[in-house]
Symmetry: D2
Subunit: 281 residues, 4 copies
């Protein structure tokens, strides 16, 4: 399915600064970037960096102090996602995990799975199948955490959200990841453009590893699962922030858009008795 995505960011750069921007659509076996433009005004040279395992594709830009910076990204991207039957989505024994996946079992800055071990296992430990476990915990987050703009900040972590029960998409994702890892299911942060997200913005959710595949889950249920264009994945928001700014910078506006340019888009949300998981890549 083809999508047209765009973002437009404006910054007031007060001192010489380095930007690490994570807004490009990722190129993966299941996601093809058909057209793409990246514009920085005023013109400044930028450098594309791609992380070791292809989870990120970020632009690094050196910006002199005193610049009013505008960054515009446009792309047409085709995502070829797959639905996989839940009977194939069992827990993968730790002894069979690839070392690049094993990493996503360990606790990280915003996903302190080591502190949620009992809670996760008390609530979801007896569910037989990995897909059903993660479906259940996603549903539990959805029912218990209130989506509330401005209720959290960049330091908020899963350990806070599990108790404070309010947050934004980032917090929903972190809690989902932490619970998965506490259940010994590898899980990673996913950022992307999201079709039909209201109001339009960058979105975050998570992927859990089961049956040898990364399956996507979104406890916010704010946009269809099959309408994402993936930007990055990582351990948590520390790895995959939209923008990491080193310097004295004020963000002045963020405009994000995503539209499907085919006319047979059929929105997919998981239901309570969902029997298929969605795989990007």
């Amino acid at each position: 399915m083809r999508f047209k995505v765009s973002s437009e960011l404006e910054y007031q750069v007060l001192s010489d600064s380095t930007f690490v921007l994570n807004i490009h659509a990722l190129r993966t076996p299941s996601q093809t970037v058909l057209e793409e433009s990246f514009l920085i005004a005023p013109y400044i040279k930028s450098e594309e960096l791609i992380s070791a395992h292809g989870e990120n594709r970020f632009m690094r830009v050196e910006v002199p102090g005193g610049t009013k910076l505008k960054v515009i990204y446009n792309a047409v991207v085709d995502n070829a996602i797959r639905l996989i039957d839940y009977s194939l989505l069992n827990d993968v024994p730790i002894s069979e995990l690839d070392s690049t996946v094993l990493t996503y079992l360990y606790p990280s800055r915003y996903c302190q799975s080591d502190k949620l071990y009992r809670l996760a296992n008390n609530k979801f430990g007896t569910i037989a199948n990995a897909f059903e476990k993660v479906l259940a915990l996603t549903e539990w987050i959805h029912r218990n955490v209130e989506y509330l703009s401005g209720s959290t900040n960049s330091q908020t972590s899963a350990y806070d959200t599990v108790t404070e029960q309010a947050g934004v998409c980032r917090d929903f994702a972190h809690l989902g990841i932490a619970l998965c890892r506490a259940l010994t299911i590898p899980a990673r942060y996913f950022t992307g453009y999201a079709f039909k997200l209201e109001p339009p913005d960058f979105h975050a959710c998570f992927e859990a590893y089961m049956g040898g595949q990364w399956i996507i889950f979104d406890a916010t249920k704010l946009s269809p699962l099959n309408g994402f264009i993936k930007i990055a994945s990582g351990r948590d928001a520390a790895d995959a922030a939209i923008a990491s700014l080193f310097g004295n910078v004020i963000c002045q506006s963020v405009i994000v858009n995503s539209e499907c340019i085919e006319n047979n888009f059929d929105p997919l949300y998981y239901g309570f008795s969902q029997t298929q998981g969605l795989n990007y890549l």
Copy 2:
């Protein structure tokens, strides 16, 4: 009902130290101390302090460094508790709370009710009656938190326990108190001698204020609710610790005992459809 209670504490006092001991049975309208002895060996003068609202009755002792200290307390105490019908145990409007009770609505060191507001209200907010609310949250703690000796320390608070789901009586009490306060029900920490507690030790639980009365609750369910001899109440363990030691002191042994000296003791635990609350005044 009359109980014979005792405690015997041994300390190695390495430097000149001040002990604030909270092991005496409280004297209240519903609790009469019939006989009592308090012995310090070697002999050191001690001073009894009684807090403003009668929630504590503690002994202060100055102990020189190099002392091997033994403290022995024995008492026969009569507790005259009352069962009150739950229909009388409604929420008291804040506008009718006495200022000495209002205090117990505010967050304290180990009971960060301000952080549990959503969780408490999501889970228990729609239950109509204060008694039923606190019964429900006590049951919830009992089912979700594992009693596990040594799993926590003196810095563990309700905010930790709600997520980590393991603790000792102190932690169960702190979580109960925090959830009550988050529901705008005043609640306080209760320490005492507990008949039939295995292994014998000092015990902690909590009281919640409803219908103009303090009603006792114990999420550990480790000993009958009608078998307590009250030592102290306070905002949390910071106020009502068994011993606050200022100096370099090693605790070497704690022996606690409680026995009922009447033969018609009928152990009371709240059931799921409990209709009466127990009041120690």
Copy 3:
């Protein structure tokens, strides 16, 4: 010295709510309320509550939902403060503390002195005299913590501020209190009207107990120490908040004023080699 103080608060009350307001000048041996008016518009009956040890004097008001509430307080108050020589301001042994003072040694919600024990003793433990210790830690807070409006919220505590090094007057006070208690010096939260505070607002600082007296300290250094009219003291902001609101209420404006109505006001700030401490009450 006589001061004219006033405050004017406006609220949009969305549901039936209870207000506990802590804006009245306290009556103490050293502070005399000469004139006073308290107005609620529209007229609603209010009730004055005075806490057990006279640390608070708060008004409780029941407000129906749908009210646009205005509260106006005006007073003329005379404070008779004393300067006490630091040689008289030594540590009071715990064995000589009154039980009403002992309370202020224990950790509280926002002042987790139990977690700052090593830090406080490493930095300030070897200073001989209580006054000099607290002077040093106040100076240390002043140098290390940046006053930054909006940097913290109602859940921020001393444990956060000691590391994050930014905050408002409330946070400066909590950190001061926590460090004192970690040094076994009783300390309490102090709120008041502050002459020459810019911009005008309610202010918070702290009092530490030494030589049998409560001595005032203010790590923000934002207003003269001798220009306060005391509203309340308490363990921390949980006890002495300006307004505790139970219900759905939006605060719309807070206007505070304080002026000295004598013309010989001589502003006092502690210096590095300060030899006298200031006592209110």
Copy 4:
């Protein structure tokens, strides 16, 4: 310099478990494993995993429940370390960091650099050179944090240690890393065998990136900096734990040894006016 290192671990394995062991000497351009043996008794097949960037070389072993497991590792390893003049060890601009190094700028589970930004910059921000900055913060940790066995646990993080000021080598390393990252200096966790460490054990310290090199620092100062055989590096202990055990396992003994088998070992510790940094690659 050649070292003979060994470790012997014993476990009681109660349920079927997966072990991920991180005890092998790493093979790097500057570290050559001359001889090596790895023995598991009873015999169980193990699998060696090497992480993407060569920071780890771990063994994965599936162990059936009911096993009394013994793991023995022996190696002779040659480390060829380099001393680099501090004038070459300047901050690397973010715009010149390789993407594999950039990762080590972000906060991680135990190194919440985002919360230490002000503290790090207030204390060390004005020091001109990266090497001198990290030397200063290492010294500061050494002076302020007490090495105290048993004072912390597996959940303790840099955010705790900066205030609580006690810990073990893991905590010293985490705090060092967090402070470096807060100063925009990439830093990573380092585990290894340590010659002359008393009592012998695995050791942890950290590396900071400067002048295009990873330079080693150890705030514990418990063993010479030139006596390490590197086992692993990672973001923090979550990545580079000696043993990650999935299952019900009791560790019964850990015996570690390291000796230099050349006789011209000249122990190196950084001094206050150190002018050269040590690089293990």
